[in-house]
Amino acid sequence: MSSFLKQSLRQISTFLVIYIAWILFTYSLDVQELAFGFVVSILVSVFIHKYTDFKIVDYIFNPFKIFNIFIYAIVFLIVEIQSHLSVAKAIITGNISPAIVRITPEFNSDMGLVLLANSITLTPGTVSVSIDKNLYVHCLNYKKGDKIDYFFNKYGRRVVD
């Protein structure tokens, strides 16, 4: 019974996020649009929970986690600007030293791996090539002893776990 309650809570929270996104995109409160969005959101949330184990309720509707997500976003923004400037310098001057480096993720869940890989790929200068429990990252300017994961392991662990 408790497991069933948890499952239905997850499904309802996914439905709510999709429905709010629908309302923001259409930006009207007509009965027609609301009803159609309701049906479509139910279908999509049922589809998501049948084929994946997506637990958005553990991340979104938790005030402590939201604070951690905010800190993660600020760290991500600073890292983004720094690596942007360094890649622009590398393009103009033309001296690069590419390498493929293994990163060991410090998460237990798949969601943490997705967060780490997406953040690493979204910063210019590093792109994730292949995954088998470890993450193989191609980076543009590698010097010996560099930290490639830019503190994403440290701050992402607070968000996910």
Binding site: P98, V127, V129
Partner: protein, 108 residues
Amino acid sequence: MISEVLIYIAAISAFIGAIGLFRFKDCYTRIHAATMISVGGVMLALIVLAIETVGTVYSVKAILIVIFFALTNPVSSHAIVNCAHRMGIEPKNLTRDDLGHNKLKGEV
């Protein structure tokens, strides 16, 4: 005033990315320039649009497009790089290789 400066920053960032895409030697390094265009060009321009039209429908829509872009752009660029890796295209001038491109060629 500040939005004009930001628009010029976005355009120049896209231009530097295009130079990098033209100039680099293999596809693994070209991906970095492509990321620079998509983040420094498109997402910055969308944020400028959201600042300019603040308080209307289009501001909300621009922020939603930024979130959507941030979720989907890594997936597509990872798909391209993983495809190149599976096809057996080798990166050039590596200073360190943990993946072992020459060994993996036959099996994966």
